[in-house]
Amino acid sequence: MIEVRELTFLHRGAKEPVLRGIDFQAKEGEVTAILGPNGSGKTTLFQCLLGIWKFQEGEVRLAGKPLSHLKRTEIAKNLSVVPQEHDPPFPYSCLDIVLMGRTAHVGIFSTPSGRDRDLSRRAMKTLGVDHLAERPYTQISGGERQMVLISRCLAQDAPAMLLDEPTAHLDFRNQITILKKVKDIVRQKGLIALMNLHDPNMALLFSDRVLLLNRGELVAQGRPGEVITRESLLEVYGLEVEFVAENGYRVICPKL
């Protein structure tokens, strides 16, 4: 479980906090989506959870242990990340990329063992990208890259996974495929997934819980259907929307 209590963070020298009194829990087997407009603090929240930024107030606990007591490798054993923009400087093979997930488990003066390779290959198989193992990561498509990065999270073997806008730059079909895969894996393996999303429709379709961020504050949290409403979207995005219901699906449609 990821527990965040009253987290407040401001950049050095800044007057206004980027995040104010953030308070939530993310549980095993659930996909928690974080929604909010650009600049609402979604990415900063991730960076605070990873210990990249030191927050001034509040507390984060990963699997019961306070984040401030954890070393880099211990954080990595608890929390894996699918980063947003991704362009490695060298054309590593996809297997090399997935193997990097084993960094926290491999000693500083050591290289990955046969077991690490097996785990990485198995992770790639789970995501259905084992055929890409020897291909250069720089030459595969955006959707394939996301799959490789999610396999890397599995290889990292952490109970929780952060996905920073996993559907950005992807075509429609790939967006759906990736999010479906994430949801399946989270169910199957009882993982904790926390992901930033831009599209509230995707949150309705694929998440179990939603956190709605606005200007650094958590304005609502709960089941997607309860949090994503006409009123909340108007408040947070300043946009008039209509809900269209058909065949048991509820879809958000902006008023034009």
Binding site: Q47, L50, G51, I52, K71, R72, T73, I75, A76, K77, L79, S80, V81, P83, D87, P88, P89, F90, P91, Y92, S93, D96, L99, M100, G101, T103, A104, V106, I108, F109, S110, T111, P112, P136, T138, Q156
Partner: protein, 334 residues
Amino acid sequence: MKRKLILFGIGLSPFVFACISLLWGAYDIAPWTIAKVLFSKMFLLKSADAGTELSILWDIRLPRIILSALVGAALSGAGTTLQGIFRNPLVDPFILGLSSGAAFGCALSVALFPQFPIQAAAFVFSLIASFTTYLLARSQGEISRLHLVLSGIVISAFFSALVSILKFLVDPHKLVSIVYWLMGSFSLSDWSSIWVACLGMMAACVPLMLMRWRLNALSMGEEEARSLGIPVERDRLLFIGAASLAVGCAVSVSGIIGWVGLMVPHLTRMLVGPDHKLLMPFSLAAGAAFMIFADTLARNLTSFDIPVGIITTLSGTPFFIYLLKRGAGESWGK
């Protein structure tokens, strides 16, 4: 199969070039004599008839081969490391100012403080230079390629200017030795200079080899490396420290030999791929082979010894232009 052959070839290349270099010189020695002389020397057998051959091989050619191999390996290992941690295929010890820093340290020790060991001075100033470059490039947050290269040029120019001041101040006799040494040459090698450099360069290459796999994750950028479980600051410190030691020791025995740390890792990456687990050992081997080769040419192309630094720079310039033209090629990842 083809890949295994390439790997085997690179691994073997230092020994092949070493043999060529032993054979090829101003004084002709038959291969059979070489084998006999070296064999008897190594196993402490007496051989009365080979006095001249023995001293040419044992005191002149062999020390140069070993030293050039070590310097080549050290420079190319440092280059591989710097390209990895700065995620920039365009940098090497020369561009980032490590070489100039080390050169200043050496010149300082030669000109003003002869009691201070030259290797230590080279290491200290190479370390200062690399950290200044790093901090300068970092002041903009995440290190950009442009800032890094520009910072390196600035630091490099700064230390070159300091070396010029020293050249201006010292007496003409010392000036000649500083100038000739700065051009980069192995012509002064003997067994006594090998041991110190040998220890320093090996001490530097051991951590580079042991930690090499982490360069993969480090090259993905600061934030990603952290999320993978790498304490980025500590690891960079270790890598930069080891690379500076390698470059400092190399410069202290052979002066500034440019472009090796750029060319060799690049060529090796094209042949064996970017995974540092393989790249590091093979680029050490290829660096050694390249330097033995370049020094053999330096020794034999003309009737006198050309500084080997001139040869590497002459071959490095067209290579760098080729890389710039190739721009978005494969080993750039973009």
